[in-house]
């Protein structure tokens, strides 16, 4: 998101007098075309990013064991819905406060849409409608919350998880997001994160990491110094989820061009699609080849993670690289996943779906990789941004998880975990084959 809303708001104010003079004539397409096209871009891209919520749900549903699938689906639809409400109530205007001190905007300013049938003279003609902008931003915050849900699967209680989502989507993500996309101190400094390798993905990754540490691994995952794999229930669903995320990512990165009113903009959007696709393909192929070499057989779950890591890697700069640039940036994302999944296991941090390697580690890599193709970015500024998001999100998440643990407990009991959360927490099985026939 290279444009900040502050700049736009100022531009709109400046444009108002001109529009006032031309009031007698209906505005021509030159004036309203960009507004219409960009609003359309936000809506279409927003639909695609919305569908990523389904992708996350299917990926996570496939990678958890069958006794926890109902819980995982419940968490996914609930977190999306909670995020939608919190982002309206607090998040959107906290993240895009207009003129502010650069660190924290104002709380509790619920989003207000454009009036019904808004006149061209009253619309933000050099940007897009509030409704499309709000919707497009909202589906991003939901993606962040989905990342957390996958890492903490199969052992966390439903309600403490949803309370965390309230804080993450209503307060934490919008505050840190305002530093960059709201025109805050990091964007002033020149930090560059086009569609959110850091702002969205590593934020989700840091929150997940803090949660996984406080929550502890699943029972029996690490026994006598051994890693005890717990294979997922349905790799077809996990693959479907990955393909859906891949599709959704075209909206995630393409929509982040934030403009479609000129030949240059629409061409850039298509450039982003091509690069995004290339990075995903390179991440998948890299993981395929690497697992074949390392383990003598390819590991599908790593190939799925590899594709996603490629996508996260290109998200910080999907526009500037050549197709070859997208290829090698995505490929390194694939390498990162194959080596950091076992590394987390060695540290006894249990991440059920590989969310931390994919979104945090590849997110950091993608944010660094900006400097290779974007001349305006510097390594020091990129590292400053990565560290700022890391420290803020990790520390704030730790505090919230510890408070939730103290107040209500975040983990189910041993017996409940062994029985599976579907029976013990939900009282509803995802696959009740033998119940009544």
């Amino acid at each position: 998101m290279k444009l900040s809303r502050i700049v736009l708001a100022t531009a709109v104010l400046a444009a108002v007098p001109t529009l006032g003079i031309a009031q007698e004539e209906a505005p021509g397409f030159d004036e309203i075309g960009p507004y219409i096209m960009t609003t359309l871009l936000f809506c279409m891209a927003g639909f695609l990013v919305f569908f990523m919520a389904c992708g996350f749900a299917m990926l996570e549903g496939g990678l958890v064991r069958s006794k926890n699938v109902t819980m995982q689906m419940t968490k996914n639809i609930a977190l999306y819905s909670v995020a939608a409400i919190m982002y309206w109530l607090i998040g959107f205007n906290l993240m895009y406060p207009g003129d502010f001190n650069g660190y924290v905007g104002s709380f509790f300013v619920p989003t207000v849409l454009d009036p019904v049938g808004v006149a061209a003279a009253d619309a933000a003609l050099d940007y897009a409608s509030v409704g499309s902008d709000f919707f497009f931003q909202l589906v991003f915050v939901a993606a962040t919350a989905s990342i957390v849900s996958g890492a903490l699967a199969e052992r966390i209680k439903l309600w403490p998880f949803l309370f965390f989502v309230v804080v993450l989507t209503g307060v934490m993500y919008p505050i840190s997001g305002s530093w960059q996309w709201g025109g805050g101190w990091l964007s002033e400094m020149g930090f560059s994160d086009f569609a959110g390798s850091t702002v969205v993905h590593s934020v989700g990754g840091w929150a997940a990491l803090a949660g996984a540490i406080i929550l502890g691994p699943r029972l029996g995952k690490y026994k006598d110094g051994q890693v005890n794999p717990m294979p997922g229930s349905n790799l077809a669903l996990a693959t479907l989820g990955t393909f859906i995320l891949w599709l959704g990512w075209f909206g995630f990165n393409g929509g982040s061009q934030l403009a479609m009113g000129t030949v240059g903009d629409v061409s850039d959007v298509s450039r982003i699609f091509a690069n995004t696709n290339m990075a995903a393909a390179a991440g998948a192929v890299t993981a395929l080849i690497l697992t074949q070499i390392l383990y003598k057989k390819p590991d599908l779950t790593m190939v799925l993670n590899g594709a996603l890591a490629g996508l996260v890697s290109i998200t910080a700069e999907p526009l500037a690289p050549t197709l070859f640039g997208a290829l090698w940036i995505g490929a390194i994302g694939g390498v990162i996943v194959v080596f950091t999944v076992p590394m987390l296991d060695k540290m006894k941090i249990d991440d059920v779906v590989g969310a931390i390697p994919v979104h945090l580690f590849a997110g950091i890599w993608g944010t660094i990789a900006v400097i290779f193709y974007n001349g305006d970015a510097s390594l020091v500024t990129q590292l400053t941004g990565i560290a700022a998001y890391g420290v803020f999100t990790f520390v704030a998440s730790l505090i919230v998880w510890i408070i939730l643990k103290g107040i209500m407990g975040i983990r189910v009991g041993e017996e409940e975990e062994l029985a599976g959360l579907d029976v013990s927490e939900m009282g509803m099985e995802a696959y009740p084959d033998f119940s009544k026939g």
Binding site: V227, N228, P229, P231, L294, Y295, K297, D299, T301, M302, V338, V341, P342, D345, G354
Partner: protein, 114 residues
């Protein structure tokens, strides 16, 4: 006439072939269950997300066939010749006495019930 229960664990892909062979010698019913277990084949190792783990139970199909005593040897012979691949893990066949048998619909007993 006495009735025998024949329990056989075989390789899953052999099920259809065994069923055909058994119906061709006059077997009129069987119960089939997907099972896991181990015998001399024991298990193997698999890799999931970079970590190796042992699969100690391998999938088999269990057949339960109740026939008149006079047919039992022929059934055992047919299963063993059809399910055989000469590789480890072909399975086992057990023969047990059945105390009684009854057809639910008619109340017929023992060999008449089959």
């Amino acid at each position: 006439m006495q009735v025998k229960l024949i329990i056989a664990a075989i390789k899953p892909f052999k099920l259809e072939e065994v069923r055909e062979a058994l119906t061709s010698i006059g077997v009129r019913g069987m119960m089939v269950t997907e099972i896991k277990g181990f015998g001399s084949q024991s298990g193997h190792t698999e890799i999931y997300r970079g970590a190796e783990y042992a699969v100690n139970f391998v999938p088999k199909v269990k057949l339960e066939i109740v026939v008149a005593e006079s047919m039992a040897d022929q059934v055992v012979e047919t299963i063993s010749s059809t399910a055989k691949t000469d590789k480890i893990g072909d399975g086992k066949i057990f023969v047990l006495d059945v105390e009684s048998a009854m057809r639910v619909r008619t109340g017929e007993t023992n060999a008449d019930a089959l």
